[in-house]
Symmetry: C2
Subunit: 463 residues, 2 copies
């Protein structure tokens, strides 16, 4: 509970309509999209500009109240759950696109702008903002930056990090920091911007950002390739890259996912196949034609069981939309969906599919795997029921064994979802105690009192 004095201070700064303290209203802001996680905030505030964020941080700091930033809550590792209560700073009212600069090819937005809204706004000016996380229709740019969100176009176009040129943010001590901007090169001082990207809301609160835009691809071709053996799909991905073709998209769905998605969207996916790859090549029409032919050649050589070309743009859009429903489609069929985010060097993809299959069998689990195959980034998803203690134990053993091998292959425990609460246990295994020690020193150098988004990233014995 926060005191009436603090509540009044918040209302004085933000206005009554932007301070929520009723229990039933607070309830929904204690979740994000990670199953099984919840914590109650004491109060939720909706600042409408950077200065209001700064004012809230100052009130929190003066009163030693923990504070947790959030956007739309589409995170998948619990990064915006207010584990210690306190103030939740909801940035969704910071939703203005401030400028689209066609001369410098940049856009400047407030942090609460929805990803797809920016995409559409720049598309109207003939420009392209590539990052397209699965949740792009509701996720905010601030959240994308804080998690370094990927998406379906990551393979060719990179992730959120590759487009952030400047950040305005409020530090835990109340400093308003402006870092980077419209200059395409800037090496003055440490790379704050680059450190803050992917810091999961634990070092600063982003209030504004400037992103790079690029000319859009003129043409695109979309394929579906079906495989009776998922290992072959993994080999196909590696072979396409080794043939020096970088498609914009190479997404995979396994049999369980194909079936759940087909139940959900009914577009005629072949239920008997072990895997499908959704592949898109884009760019100049001449390049697209050549690359499409080359991709088809590689797919046939590697032994794809069927290759279909999307009939037209509408059909291609339908296929991409179907892939985007994968998580929701899987989530419909079981009470609990444990989604993971294992990422390996692409050459290890085929082995990773084998491993997932082997471990699912060993631990008697139903696992649906989908993800950004071209990035080596897979989301093996255990369909389970959290009330079944034994099943949950097996699910965790499955992930433990999977990650152990993934790390041995030079992979990572998170390609795009972050550590948050959900994966604290794995971090030290990946970066070692020395790495964790430096991270904690960095955290302290930004946030000596540990008030900003506490309880995240570091396991309890590391805090």
């Amino acid at each position: 509970m926060i005191s009436a004095t603090v509540a009044q201070q918040l209302i004085d700064k933000l206005g009554k309509e932007n301070v929520i303290a009723e229990k039933e209203d607070l309830l929904v802001l204690g979740y994000d999209s990670t199953p099984g996680l919840h914590a109650m905030p004491d109060v939720v505030v909706y600042p409408t500009d950077s200065e209001q964020v700064q004012a809230v941080v100052e009130i929190a700091r003066d009163n030693k109240i923990p504070f947790t930033p959030r956007g739309s809550g589409t995170g998948l590792s619990g990064g915006s759950i207010p584990v210690n209560g306190g103030i939740v700073i909801c940035l969704n009212k910071l939703n203005k696109i401030l400028e689209i600069d066609e001369e410098n090819l940049t856009a400047t937005c407030q942090a609460g702008v929805v990803t797809l809204d920016l995409f559409n706004a720049v598309a109207e000016k003939g420009l392209f903002y590539p990052p397209d996380p699965g949740s792009q229709k509701i996720s905010t740019l601030g959240g994308n930056v804080m998690e370094d969100a990927g998406g379906l176009r990551g393979l060719k176009y990179g992730v959120t990090r590759d487009y952030v040129m400047g950040l305005k943010c409020v530090l835990p001590d109340g400093t308003l920091l402006d870092t980077g901007g419209k200059s395409v090169k800037d090496v003055a001082g440490y790379a704050f911007k680059d450190l803050l990207i992917g810091s999961e809301g634990t070092l600063a609160i982003i209030t504004e950002l400037t992103v790079k835009l690029i000319p859009p691809p003129q043409d695109k071709r979309t394929f579906l390739a079906y495989f009776k053996n998922i290992r072959t799909a993994g080999e196909a991905v590696s072979k396409i890259i080794a043939a020096k073709i970088i498609p914009s998209t190479m997404e995979i769905m396994d049999k369980a996912t194909i079936n759940c998605v087909e139940d959900y969207v009914k577009i005629g996916l072949p239920r008997e196949m072990a895997a499908l790859l959704l592949i898109e090549v884009d760019g100049h029409p001449a390049v697209v034609a050549e690359e499409a032919a080359e991709v088809e050649k590689v797919l046939k050589a590697v032994g794809a069981d069927d290759v279909q070309m999307a009939k037209d743009a509408e059909h291609a859009g339908e296929l991409a939309a179907a892939r985007r429903t994968a998580l929701s489609a899987l989530a419909r069929v079981s009470p609990t969906t444990l989604l993971e985010d294992a990422t390996v060097p692409r050459s290890m993809l085929a082995n990773t599919f084998d491993l997932i299959e082997k471990l699912a069998e060993k631990y008697k689990l139903t696992v649906g795997t989908f993800g950004h195959a071209g990035d080596g980034n897979l989301h093996p998803t255990v369909l389970c029921d959290e009330r079944n203690e034994d099943e949950m134990k097996r699910a965790h053993a499955f992930y433990d064994e999977l990650y152990e091998q993934v790390l041995e292959w030079g992979g990572t425990v998170s390609g795009e979802h972050g550590i948050g609460i959900a994966k604290k246990g794995y971090l030290a295994k990946q970066i070692g105690p020395g790495g964790v020690a430096v991270m904690k020193r960095i955290k302290r150098s930004f946030d000596p009192d540990g008030l900003l988004n506490p309880g995240k990233i570091f396991a309890d014995d590391q805090e």
Copy 2:
């Protein structure tokens, strides 16, 4: 002076041949490529693997001796000058390319590999490592990472940062930290790698790195555009980008630079022109043909006084090589060359040329300007004589006034050369005292005793 005991410890770990303590040998390792800066190291060591670097750091730490890493010393801000003496750790013997992985499109190298050697080695396998700093024939990859080096291809292909996937480094406390790797996405923990890139050797010593490779462009076309008015050249750059063409290269030389370069390389550059742009478009032949036509159209529309196409690849190579000589060519004609690194949003280029001209006149200085116009990154170079006190005063006043305006335009005091010793005074002006305070806390979190590369980046009153 270091003690005989410490010298012996170093010899025990690295071998006699890798420890240099003779004064005449040390002298040359107290310089980098920044005019007017020198400091004597007490001892220089040449480790041959990561563990030897770690051993040296441990000896330095145990004996509280400052230590400064360096590569080939091509830096232009004094970043590797051992201002407090101590141990210089020269990484040039860490010169092995460890692996070129054609399946994952990565290369793993020791930090002392020369940039062009990597470029050539991967080119042999039909792959492409784009970063090409002016000093690529002698600069090392470790130095490139520490300065986040740019190059002539930065406009389309980005800078060193855009290609670093993994780093192995030794922290000031002796920890060997492995961060990133061959996975194309990795968001587990804070972005160490991204913080270390551009940290100018003040947070860690890089010993190995893994970089991303890409398929090479299949075709290329090279233009020279001449302008009787340099402002028009700036406008041409903005208009080409605004036409949604991203050439691989758009380099500028002003009249003074054209004349010095022509004196030096004698390839028939027109001495009467106020500026030339060297423009390259590359990629698929069909794209190159279209973009070349479009570039030519924009150049004519904006009022270029002459546009010439390179006759063939050899001629194109000659032109790029001529541009690469700009700094040396300018340096030949005056006792002192003060090179700066102002960078502005591209739309401000034309105004920046005007400003440089106006300030050169105001302060009665000879200024040659060249640089990466496409990146908004200019190197206005004052040709002067450090023995002329009044001229030096005017030169500094010139830069002060220039940077004040550049910062007002949203630019930066360094696009690619770093702060080092040379530009300490400007940093706080750009990032503010709040930014400097956080930087210092980060520095302390890595290096509490301040032994790693002391005397850099922070002005004396900030240390």
